[in-house]
């Protein structure tokens, strides 16, 4: 199945094969349909024609060595590259049928449907915990206090932070620990009720206990949201994702269920990466 170029002297090094864009059999509805997504920064082509389907209500992990384009791929999904003047995005991304890069589509509206959690937790420093959670709602026009309080509690409960901060919602957000701040950022992202949640290495700056809590949280969240998580930690991807995509040097090498990728990958390069032979 795998094309290999063998020679009597050099070890076998396969040509990276364009993987199938469809996820493994048995998947349900598809949240994000990505076709031939390419991102360039000036003359530098970072993503080269990536195509895959992200299933709804599941966790999809994007793995690959440093510099392979994982974060670039993630940011292309909620049009964060619009902020970078030198960036050029080509290809199609469809969220439940809506073409995200179509003409006349407002990036602001997209970002309300696709939320993002960043690697370094960044709660707004001048605001309290409660204000941080509701900021997305308030700055998008929601004013009624009762509704804001209800949504704030709902988001904090979903982010598994309510029990710890219920009595000090007016405390400054920076008074929380690192893991709590990251959960606060997750609550903030959830408050605007997105359909998809993008997470760029959310637990990489946290200790193992906090990491475990975040991972449990993600497994809970997938019932209500679609989650795409970028991680450089392969074991984390193996623990908590349903589908895994392996990117290398800007190209999608292989995409399938996590079990398949980690136990019997179709591509030699994938197997080399997950077994630690490189990366």
């Amino acid at each position: 199945m795998t094309q290999e170029q063998t020679s009597p002297i050099l070890p076998a090094r396969p040509l990276p094969r364009r993987a199938s864009a469809a996820p493994a059999a048995g998947s349900g509805p598809v949240a994000l349909t990505i076709r031939e997504l390419s991102v360039s920064f000036g003359a530098n082509r970072v993503l080269k024609g990536v195509s895959l389907d992200i299933p709804a209500h599941a966790v999809t992990a994007i793995i690959g060595p440093s510099g392979c384009g994982k974060s670039t791929f993630l940011r292309a999904l909620n049009r964060m590259h619009d902020l970078v003047p030198a960036a050029r995005v080509e290809g199609q991304v469809r969220l439940f049928g809506t073409e995200l890069y179509g003409p006349g589509v407002e990036p602001v509206a997209i970002r309300r449907r696709i939320g993002m959690v960043f690697q370094k937790s960044n709660p707004f420093p001048t605001m309290s915990i409660g204000d941080n959670v509701t900021i997305g709602l308030r700055l998008n026009g929601l004013r009624q206090r009762a509704e804001l309080a209800r949504r704030m509690k709902q988001s904090l409960v979903m982010a598994a932070l309510w029990d710890e901060v219920a009595d000090r919602l007016d405390a400054p957000a920076l008074s929380l620990s690192g893991g709590q701040q990251q959960r606060l950022c997750i609550a903030r992202a959830l408050a605007v009720q997105p359909e998809v949640l993008l997470m760029d290495e959310p637990a990489s700056a946290l200790d193992p206990l906090a990491t475990a809590r975040i991972e449990d949280l993600i497994l809970e969240l997938k019932k209500d949201f679609t989650i795409v998580i970028v991680t450089h930690n392969m074991q984390q991807a193996a623990r908590m994702s349903d589908y895994t995509a392996f990117l290398y040097l800007g190209e999608l090498v292989e995409y399938g269920t996590t079990a398949a990728i980690f136990t019997h990958p179709a591509n030699q390069q994938t197997e080399d990466y997950v077994t630690g032979r490189f990366g």
Binding site: M80, V108, N122, P125, T126, L139, A189, V192
Partner: protein, 283 residues
């Protein structure tokens, strides 16, 4: 290690440390001299009348600079009305938006304007405001001080906004918040302390400007009841009294100098107090 070389190194160290301390003290000496002289000469002339009464006619003893002090505050208020919105908006433009060419010229213009002698500002506003209005006025004084504040506030606002980490902007935009809202209610709010510092320092700087007011506010022996009339200001009054031949007026000029110096010092100290970091020890 060679003991003689070690001793030479220790001596060099001691010498350089001593020179650095001496230079630092030398830099503080003018400040100390200023305070000493102003306090010595002004403290005697400061009394309740000084703060509450209008200037008395030539020859009569007593009187005060009440109208000059109030006038300075009025002028600073008018200047802030012009300088703060324009300066802060300009700073936001320079920091948050992407128009490379225009930004380069704006920054260049602001830096040049920061170096323009204040008397030139006075002459320009004389031609632009006083001549069409056919008279000196508080408006003209406020306009010239405000114009002087604009490039100052613009640059300090830009610097402070650039210090706000990009992560906050990204987090806010990722929540689906529009860019102008992000800038005003997230970025500016985070940098607010720094922006206020810049405004207060600009106010302290223009509070002492005399030359531009010579051509615009002109001074007033009485209270100002209409902003289209000339208005007294502390630096102007000090100037007029100091160049006069009357001993009593000289003493009052010193008192005025003390009042002005204290006002500027209080603003600067307040800025330091307001922006101190309460959670860490300063070296």
């Amino acid at each position: 290690m060679n003991t003689a070389y070690h001793r030479w190194r220790k001596f060099k160290n001691w010498l350089m440390q001593g020179l650095a301390c001496a230079c630092a003290l030398l830099a503080v000496v003018p400040l100390a001299l200023v305070f000493y002289h102003v306090l010595k000469s002004g403290l005697g002339a400061v009394n309740w009348a000084f703060f509450t009464q209008l200037p008395k006619p030539v020859g009569e003893a007593g009187g005060g600079m009440a109208n000059a002090m109030v006038g300075t505050f009025q002028l600073l208020g008018l200047a802030a009305l012009l300088g703060v919105p324009v300066g802060v908006s300009g700073g936001i433009f320079l920091s948050e938006y992407r128009f490379a060419r225009l930004k380069w010229w704006t920054r260049f213009g602001a830096d040049v304007l920061n170096g323009v002698p204040s008397i030139i500002w006075g002459v320009v506003v004389y031609a632009l405001v006083v001549v069409p209005m056919k008279g000196f006025s508080a408006w003209a004084g406020g306009i010239v001080l405000g114009l002087m504040m604009v490039p100052l506030i613009m640059r300090t606002t830009e610097e402070v906004l650039l210090l706000v980490p990009q992560g906050y902007r990204e987090a806010a935009l990722a929540l689906g918040i529009a860019q102008w809202r992000t800038i005003l209610q997230i970025v500016v709010r985070t940098a607010l302390k720094g922006i206020v510092t810049g405004i207060l320092l600009a106010l302290a700087r223009v509070a002492g400007e005399t030359a531009p007011l010579l051509f615009t506010a002109f001074g007033n022996h009485y209270w100002n009841h209409n902003l289209s009339d000339p208005i007294a200001a502390l630096p102007l009054q000090i100037f007029n009294y100091a160049i006069s031949p009357y001993e009593d007026w000289h003493r009052q000029a010193w008192a005025g100098a003390l009042a002005l110096l204290l006002m500027v010092a209080i603003i600067n100290v307040s800025v330091r107090l307001l922006t101190r970091d309460r959670f860490s020890q300063s070296p």
